[in-house]
């Protein structure tokens, strides 16, 4: 199908993200990128696991982490993953307004998550846990901070997609862009699942 073709709900293809060559390329290329991201985060996780006991007599993980805050952040990010699934559901049904609405909800939840993380980091710095305080501090902020940077980038990405296409409506040019952005958002949650398990929960168990 052609990228610039005017479409209705009847003529909109079942898999709009892969209906054009450009879309297929984006889809395949993005999964290659996600494979690379997996390796990037694995190296940060591995470094953290190796260094997490080197606290240099600073605060230990079990003294630092607050289970309620982490639980709230986890619930927010998991819910935002569901709302972006809803957005893609409406995209496949060619309901542009509803898709934008659910992406907007996703965006706000992402912002709430980021706010919680900034609050958390500020609190840790006051407790004497900084990037340079110990090897535990460096590896902790490198890992969790890289994830936070991904959330920030995702917010900028989804936000600019929504604004750029607000008046354009849905077509085969922007459908793959939305699809790929939602994949990215899910991947952020995938990484967070391992962060809350390996960093926070295992840290609190000791």
């Amino acid at each position: 199908m052609e990228t610039e073709q005017k479409l209705t709900a009847e003529t909109f293809p079942a898999s709009p993200e892969k209906a054009t060559l450009e879309g297929k390329n984006k889809f395949t290329g993005f999964w290659l990128f996600l494979g690379g991201e997996t390796v990037l985060f694995a190296s940060l996780f591995a470094t953290y696991l190796a260094l997490r006991n080197s606290t240099m007599s600073g605060p230990k993980p079990e003294e630092l982490f607050d289970i309620k805050l982490v639980f709230a952040a986890t619930m927010i990010l998991l819910t935002s993953s569901l709302t972006s699934v809803y957005a893609m559901y409406h995209m496949k049904n060619f309901e542009f307004k509803k898709m934008q609405l659910w992406l907007g909800v996703t965006w706000l939840l992402g912002l709430a998550f980021l706010g919680l993380e900034i609050y958390e980091f500020r609190h840790y710095v006051h407790e004497g846990h900084t990037f340079t305080s110990s090897a535990f501090g460096s590896s902790f902020y490198a890992l969790v901070g890289t994830h936070g940077a991904h959330v920030t980038f995702g917010l900028l990405w989804i936000g600019s997609l929504m604004i750029r296409n607000a008046k354009r409506g849905l077509n085969l040019y922007n459908a793959p862009k939305y699809y790929v952005a939602s994949l990215y958002w899910h991947f952020i949650d995938v990484v967070w699942v391992f962060i809350f398990t390996v960093v926070y929960l295992m840290g609190m168990v000791g």
Binding site: M1, A9, E10, T11, P13, A14, S15, K18, A19, F27, T28, W31, L32, L34, G35, G36, E37, T38, V39, F41, A42, S43, F45, A46, T47, L49, A50, L51, S54, I67, F71, T74, M75, L78, S81, L82, V85, Y86, Y89, K92, N93, A135, L183, H186, F187, D189, V190, V193, F194, F196, T197, V198, L201, M202, M204, V205, G206
Partner: protein
């Protein structure tokens, strides 16, 4: 209309058929969300109750792996057709990831 990927030539019928399929997909995704929520709650509850450490760690890591499988196959649609190459890319990444972590927690010391 070969592009509609459906077995009927009537666009109106096609649309209904597709909407129904999309709704079924969505139902599965809500179910998987409930499962992911449940797995998260178990993991947090186990740590909150302060069960013994060595017993709990493999369990919560397993819960995380199962939750990520739900995320990949339902939320990221890896259960749909046409995901052979994405699976190849992702599992290549996972293989390197596992080797890296294995090396850093076993044979490297600081």
């Amino acid at each position: 209309m070969t592009t509609n990927q459906s077995n009927s030539d009537n666009p109106r019928l096609n649309l209904e058929y597709r909407k129904k399929r999309n709704a079924e997909d969505m139902k599965m995704q809500v179910v998987s969300f409930a499962m992911m929520l449940f797995l998260t709650l178990i993991a947090f509850f186990a740590v909150y109750q302060e069960f013994s450490g060595w017993y709990i760690m493999p369990v919560i890591v397993l819960l995380a792996v199962v939750q990520v499988i739900f995320q990949l196959y339902y939320f990221m649609h890896m259960n749909h057709k046409g995901h052979t190459i994405p699976a190849f890319f992702l599992y290549s990444g996972v293989l390197v990831a596992l080797l890296t972590i294995l090396a850093f927690v076993t044979i490297i010391w600081w």
